[in-house]
Amino acid sequence: MSTESSHPLKPVSSLGETRLDRRTLMKSAAAGTSLFLMSMGLPAGTTLAAQSTGELPADAAPKEEQVFRIASDPSIAKTMNFYEAVYQRPGVADLFSESLVRLTKDFEIVPGAALKWSSSKDGKTWTFELDPDIVWSDGNPLTAKDYVRTFQYAADPEHAWDFTWFWSGDIVNFTEATEGKAKLEEIGVKQGANPHELIFEMVNPAPYLAAKLLYSWPISDAALTKYGAFYNSKPETSVTCGPFKLDKWTLDQEIVMSKWDGYKGKLNIPFQTIINKFAAPAQSYTIYDAGEIDYMSDPAPAELKLMEADPSKKGEIFQGVADFACLYFFFDVTKAPFDNLKVRQAFSHVIDRDTMQKQIWGRQAKPAPSFLAPGFPASDTEGLKDIQKFDPDLGKQLLSEAGFPDGKGFPKLTMTVRGGGTPVEVATTQAYGAALKQYLNIDCELQTIDRQAFYADLNAKPTKILFGWVSYGMDYFDPSNMLGVWLTGGRHSWSNPAYDKKVKEATTFLGPAAQRIKMFQDAERILVSDVPAVFAYFITTIQFMKPYVKGDALTADKNGIAAIHFPGFSTADTVLEGLYVTKDAPKGRS
């Protein structure tokens, strides 16, 4: 129904619907660099988190009490399989198969189902070596065939996957296959010399490929053939090669999964049982408070205040950065009055982010003077902070220069807002609407429409939304991912050849990492200066975790962020390795 950020991964979300969890801030571009080096085929890190020994810490509860409970929205629970329906998976979907790579809490890419990988000289052909030990619960080994079938299924026009853009124009023949112009067997995902060698053929040099393969949970070839795409929605037909197996899925009520003892992958997870309860997002605090779940994210502002006010509960609050989502007000720059740069600039100088932080966001968001959040590679909030700074007098002057002194003659304005927004979103849009009146004397009406209609109108070509509010969060840890949304023909009507050129060049650039980062930074400067959007805030997600759940996943990363990291509770990250239930937990939780 509603998502605060546009990120498709929902695992950490307590409320299913959408609120995602966010993760750590990285202050330097170093992360980008290390990621980059790693994806260039340098020896992939063996820096897996500690605790891999299989021994539980001394204060851990016995095995049968290692139960972890979260909640998610009942209306988003179609399937467990990413390659079936990205946006309709419950919170715990991605534990039934092994992603090729995993993301550590320091945003390093480490081996998952792939033990190592390397690329051809031109960066276009990539070879992944699969862990030969991993098997499916139906007895079949996990082989390249499963991945090949998964990517073919993703491209199949009859399946019409909701996320085809992710690989379009990237994997050879993927776009052509979705258009029916190439056979599925012709796409650039193939078995190599043996069943445990997987080859990706890319259209352009793809230094980001390993990072992007975070989203590579395979579908079982055998199960797909035998039971169809929803085989993981029932225990009878469920097949897993991941650390958990499906015990029970009571529609609209709960999903229960327990550790699968046949698991041969490398994740070492203390939890024995994970329960995903279904509750409307607005209810999650109530049930967290009542002790029915152990974790939730994105509380309402008053709920956070209640927790902060209670000294005994302060330790249960964690602040992360999730998918580095940026929320912003956008313009259709092809239409008056927003075809005038001065009007857009005027709008960008009347957003008082500091006061919003103080009065509305609290710890749930940070001011966003630009698009890339601190910690994300190429982020340059310091360098760009003055371009869209709060300066109402300058705003008034610019508006006057644009031909609307004191707002006179400005056309009647409607801000289009997507339905189901979080309380923080609602308050931010209302406050900005009021600021337009207060500082620019422009009457702005806020029109909330449901998400289906909103995205249909936003994505229409030409777009039907003149002025609106939306978010964008990362899918993989590379600037090309975030900045790509502003390319010509992308989400918005803004089109800037210089920007396009910079982003495209940098994306496929195989030279020194620092130079690549600099290219992206130049591109972002063009973006922020031309004001196709007024950037508002970066989400810094708030998570509540019961005090009896502890572990390395909740301690500070190298940037000092202590919270559940993105994507969270899946095989594409190491979060679950670093969590366990202590002896203080109430007995018999279910």
Binding site: A300, A431, Q438, D450
Partner: protein
């Protein structure tokens, strides 16, 4: 909520048959004196008077808001956000710094406008259709009644959400949508009244004297059928206001910065455990509106019942 949100409950205390029978008998009297007695009976009822007073106060607060409210509904100062009731802000301020008293007053105005206007829309559709069916009978009646059945059978909430999604949110749209979903009661009532009345002696007499059907309808039938309809209208107003609250709660209501009580209650949900005033005041305002109109409706019903002389 589906119960209250979009379907005006059929008022059984106006069982069409019984009231119509009784009304027919009584209305042989001189209309003015009947009204006079009804007025006196109405004024004698304590609850009805309380209701009237409540509604008058709310109307003054709502429609007088441009003069009486401390600030305009759109004025907000973010620096002043999240204040509890105090000397300078009697009802506190909301999450973005609106003076909450002003918001509640303007919100009351919006709710009253929605209530009145939606019922006018319902009347404009329901009463002519009901008269047509009741006067003409036959094919006209058949068609109108099928339309009524279709409207009754269509889930009101679904219908309203659909229309709001197609039209977009806004005060004018919500008035139209609530009007479109609530005319059925009035139509059925009007029709039932006319069915009984048109066979009365004085109507027959008028017809024998050569009066046209239209003049009979306007001069004889409408005035005599109107009493229970007025009661139904009075009770339809709070129902419409309630419907607005329900739709606003689902996020398909009225656009900011225009305040509405329903939207304020909905928006307060994430804050109410700390900022109690954000939930309390609009809820009380809605309750008072409902209470006022319900009491008036009950009073009118008793007052217009001719057996109560």
């Amino acid at each position: 909520m589906s119960d209250q949100a979009t379907t005006a409950p059929v008022d059984p205390a106006l069982p069409n048959a019984t009231l119509a029978n009784a009304g027919g008998r009584a209305l042989v009297q001189e209309p003015r004196s009947a009204l006079y007695y009804a007025g006196r009976r109405f004024l004698r009822q304590r609850l009805a008077m309380i209701g009237l007073v409540i509604v008058i106060i709310l109307m003054i607060a709502g429609f007088g808001a441009p003069l009486l409210a401390p600030t305009n509904y759109a004025d907000a100062n973010l620096m002043d956000a999240n204040q509890f009731p105090s000397h300078s802000h009697w009802m506190g301020t909301d999450t973005i710094g609106h003076d909450f008293l002003s918001r509640v007053m303007y919100g009351t105005r919006t709710s009253l406008i929605v209530g009145f206007a939606a019922v006018i829309v319902a009347c404009l559709i329901g009463i002519p259709l009901g008269m047509l069916a009741g006067m003409k009978g036959g094919l006209a009646d058949f068609l109108v009644m099928r339309l009524v059945e279709i409207m009754t059978a269509f889930p009101g909430l679904l219908f309203a959400i659909f229309l709001m999604t197609i039209f977009g949110a806004g005060v004018d749209k919500i008035i139209l949508v609530i009007g479109l979903t609530s005319w059925v009661t009035l139509c059925r009532l009007m029709r039932a009244q006319l069915f009984t009345l048109r066979e009365q002696e004085y109507v027959q007499a008028a017809r024998a004297m050569g009066a046209t059907e239209l003049s009979i309808a306007v001069r004889h039938l409408l005035p005599n059928a109107i009493a229970p309809v007025i009661v139904a209208i009075t009770l339809a107003i709070p129902t419409a206001i309630f419907a607005e609250a329900g739709l606003s709660f689902l996020g398909v209501g009225i656009n900011e910065p225009t305040p509405s009580l329903g939207k304020m209650v909905a928006d307060s949900a994430p804050y109410v455990r700390v900022y109690w005033h954000l939930g309390l005041f609009p809820t009380v305002a809605i309750a008072l509106i409902m209470l006022g109109f319900s009491f008036i409706g009950d009073g009118l019903r008793d007052a217009l019942d001719p057996r109560q002389n």
